[in-house]
Structures are given as structure tokens and as C-alpha cells.
Symmetry: C2
Subunit: 335 residues, 2 copies
Amino acid sequence: MTTGSRFPSVETLAKGVLAGNRALLARAITLVESSRAPDRPLADELVRAVLPHTGSSYRIGWTGPPGVGKSSLIEALGKELVSGTGQKLAVLAIDPSSRRTGGSILGDKTRMTELGHHPQVYIRPSAAGNYLGGTARHTRETLLLCEAAGFDHVWVETVGVGQSEQEVHRLVDLFVVLAQPGAGDDLQGIKRGILELADLLVVTKADGPLLQSARQTQLQLLQALRLFPPQPSGWSVPVLSVSSEENTGLTVLLNKMEEFRSRGRETGFWETRRMEQQTELLFSLIQENWLNKLYSHPDYLELARSAREKLATQNHTPDQLAEEFFRLLRFDWDN
Amino acid sequence: MTTGSRFPSVETLAKGVLAGNRALLARAITLVESSRAPDRPLADELVRAVLPHTGSSYRIGWTGPPGVGKSSLIEALGKELVSGTGQKLAVLAIDPSSRRTGGSILGDKTRMTELGHHPQVYIRPSAAGNYLGGTARHTRETLLLCEAAGFDHVWVETVGVGQSEQEVHRLVDLFVVLAQPGAGDDLQGIKRGILELADLLVVTKADGPLLQSARQTQLQLLQALRLFPPQPSGWSVPVLSVSSEENTGLTVLLNKMEEFRSRGRETGFWETRRMEQQTELLFSLIQENWLNKLYSHPDYLELARSAREKLATQNHTPDQLAEEFFRLLRFDWDN
């Protein structure tokens, strides 16, 4: 387990990935997902080697509440995408269950079975890893590896837990939010703040007895969208409905996805968004790391313990306590 | 201008404030609002001296878009509150215009004229000060001084610019959002994120030709509120309508304000919220200060200048650049 020879050389991996070799791509992804410290420099070297060959895929994020039918839609839509077109599709799923159980939600083989066997398709669950924040980095690097391997579409499926939507939104060109048909005005379990991120809204299960309900939900979502300011690109967010069961609405959805890309390229917003994603990510990583230095400082931990009591005695205002904190704080930078 | 004798001694000011002396209260507020460095220790001493005598007022924040009729409502409601009850009211207005023009929006004497002359009422614009973030601290300290001076109600009026609503929300027991009657579904100019902060929503100008429109807006706001999760206290946010012109709806509004307070005290949420406000404020002040240390570091400024170019050359991912930044960063703590 701890020998350094678990992986082929970085050169072999990079060549394999660039040649589209599935077995070596899988090994490369395992390397960037590894939480073993000695693997990190190798992973960095690998990512740097393929970096000039990345950027040409259509990166799409898929999110929605549990049970909305994400996997069914991705299965149906993926088949529609690749059939007869020669396009290659990679599907990454951020999988929080692997942290809890050591298993994988995709490991049960009941999801996306047919799609997974298609020669133009590669499906890969992205393990949550053992450290906080690791998932997002693994997913970012896996996406780059898939791009370097020549996939035309890279789809990232989020399971809708925690902050993963925001992270995926910052990773993709198009962010699709799925909703299920339902009466009432609670927007069918869509998390607050997610609707604002959507470039495309899709109501699933628009078939059989749910068809009418799906239409209502579609209208309701359209109304809710009017509460939001328009996207800076000028794109007005479409609300579609589909049935993965009856394969209806899939072509319209694929066309909208294509329209979003061609419009974005025309207006220049496509490149702008990618550059903004990169710089925002850089500065948020720096901010996060910087704050962690504070949060792990003994003086801060002591203040966190005693703050309520100090405030309750009414000897200091929060402003005065904050000032005093920084007056007394000493920071040994190299620790 | 630069002598130390502009102000009476801290002892004199503190005694005066606690005795409810208006002239000394005004001087005390001028001291905490001062941006002269030598005044700060005196202001701190003064605030600390009165701190044990604070906390007993009803702190209420008022916000709404320009033209909604905040001042008219505060004038009409203030008169209703103090008349015949002996209650004392202080009104603070955060005034961003003083930073731009050196003047004050309250200085034109056209607003709240009658209320300002009432013996139980004290109206004070809170100057925005000369440094960023100064306003909020001034307002917090002024509120404490007014409480120490024996005011039963302290109302803070925000002009709805920038982050001031969030700051005021963190300062008050009850946060009231005003909306004006209007057709369409743009919620009449209410800023996104503000609705979520409201403990009470009030539609103004519910009189004459606007009465019907006000009722519609009331309904619309009620529907919008259903999109939000319930308040942790269990309080369900009322939507009222008032006319400051015809003095209608004012008693209902005063009763709701009182109901919010008595319920909060029964459930313990009143004290919980105040304690949470204090601790949140403390930690956000510390976080802000800590981040400013980073943002003013020469290495950070250099990265901010060069980040886009470095990312565009595709030699590094944002993750790798962030790591490199911290590897190279040296911090001279005492500078």
C-alpha cells in the first residue's frame, strides 16, 4: 500500500491520457484522487503535463434534489448525445457516500448501466476523499484529465449535498438544475440559492399522471426566475420539461445546450466565464487557506471558547474585544 | 481643531448621558463619531463606562427603497408611540450622504420636523465618517449611548445603500422592511436578500388611489415570504399596510411590534438573538481585519496583478498557484 510503485510513471500516464487510453486514464484519475502525501507531487506533475491540452470540452454540471431522476436523465440524454454523432462523453459524479461507507453510489451498478457500456462513454465516480475540500480539487483535476483524453463533453453530476453545487457551478460552462413535478409552492425541494446559479432548468418525469403537474412546475419556475436579475451574459434561462422514460424533450434540451454554447462563444461570454472561474477559484482558495491559519491559532480558539462570557459581563463591546484580540495576537508565521 | 479639550471629560460625559442630559448626549455621540485618533481611547472609555447601563431599549431597524416613505412613517408612528405614554424614543439615521457632500440628509430640516420637537424624542443622524466600516461602529456606539440615556425605543433608519441593511439587522431586535405599492412582479425595488432579514413587512402609502395597489403588494409579499424557511424563533412574519398620510394601520403596527417583543421574551429568543448578534459581530470583525492583513500584503497585490496572465499561460491550475503563493509568502507579523 505504501510503496511508490503503485502507479506507472508520470510520463507514461500523461502519454496514455493524451492518447485516450482508458486504462491509463483510470490510473491517472486514481493518482489525482489519492490522499497519500507522496502521490501529490506526481499528481501535480501529471496535471501540469496535460494542462496545455485541456479546455476544449463542453463542461456541464447537473444538480437537483435526491430522487429527481438525475441518473435516468443523464443515461437517456447521454445515449441521445453520442448516438450517431461520434461525440465522446465523460460523466463524473461527486460521490459523498464513499467518505461515509467506503463504497460508492455508482458502485452498485444499477445506475447508467447501458450508457456505461457505450464505447464513446466513460463514467467515473469521483470519490469524496479523506480530507475536507479534497473532493472539489479531485473533480477539477479529473475533469482536466478527461479533457486531455479527448472527451467532447464532460458532465459533472452533483448529489446535492453541502456546498458541492457552488463548487460545481464554478467548474462548468453550463449549470443545469433539475426539478421534479409537484404541487404546492415549495419549489419541490430545490435548495435556496441554487435557482440563481442555473443556466438551464429542467422539470423531469413529464409523463403519465405527472405530466400536468410537470407543466405547472414549469410555469412556477418561470415565475420564480423573474424575481432574479438577468444573467450578465444576457442569456435568459429556459425552463424545459423532459421524460427520461418516454424520451421526450431530450432533443430540445440538447439543442438548448448547444445554443447556450454557440451564443456564449459569439458574445465572448464563454471565455470570460472560464477566466473568471479560474481567478475566483484562485482567490477563494487563498482566502480559505488564510482564514484557516487564523481559525487554528491558539489565541483564536481561546477567544472562541470565552467570547460569550466576556460579552455577557458587559465589560467590552465586540468592537473593543476584536481590537484587543489583534493587539495581543502574535503570529509565528513559519509554524 | 486638534487640541484635546474639544470635549468635556469622559466622567462628565458619562454622568451626563446616564442622567439623560441631551446636550451631553449630543457631545458624547460626537465623540464616538470622531475620526481623530486621539479621540478613540476617550470614546472607548466612555462606551465602557456606560455599557453596564445599556440593553434595556427596544432596538428597531427600518429599511426600504428610496421614496418608500420611511421618514414619514417614522414621524407618524413615533408620534403615535410617545403620545400619552411617557415612552422615550431616539431615532438614528445612517447617513451616507455626509461622506459625499459633507452635509446630511437630515440637515435639511424638512424631515421629521414635528417629531423632532417632541420632548420625549431625540433624532440624530449618524454621520458616515471618513473611514470604511466606521459608520457601523459609530451607529452601534451611538445606540448604546442612547440606551444609557434612558430611551425606551431606539430606532435605526437605514437609507438602503450598500451593506448597511445587514449591519443594521445585526444591531436590532426587530427589523422592519418597508415596501411601496406597485404593480408588476419586481417587488417594488426591494433589494434581494433583504426580504429574508425582515421580521415585519410594511406596505406604505395605503391610501387614496394607491390603496388597491397596496393591498395587491401586501398579498404578493405574503406569497414571496412563503418561499423562505420559517424563522428559527417560530415567528411568522406579518405583512401590514399603513398610511402615514391618513394615520391608518399605525396602531396595528405598534401592536405587532409589541407582540414580537413579548413573544421573544417568552420564548427566550429575544436574549438568544442579542447574544448571537454580539458573537457574530465579534467574529466577523476579526475575520474582516484578518483578511485585510492578507489583502494589503505586497505578495497578494502582486498576485492580484498577475493572476490572469499566469492562469492564461496554462502552466498552473488555480490550486497549484494558491499552493505556490503560500509556499513563497513570508509575513512580517509586526508590520
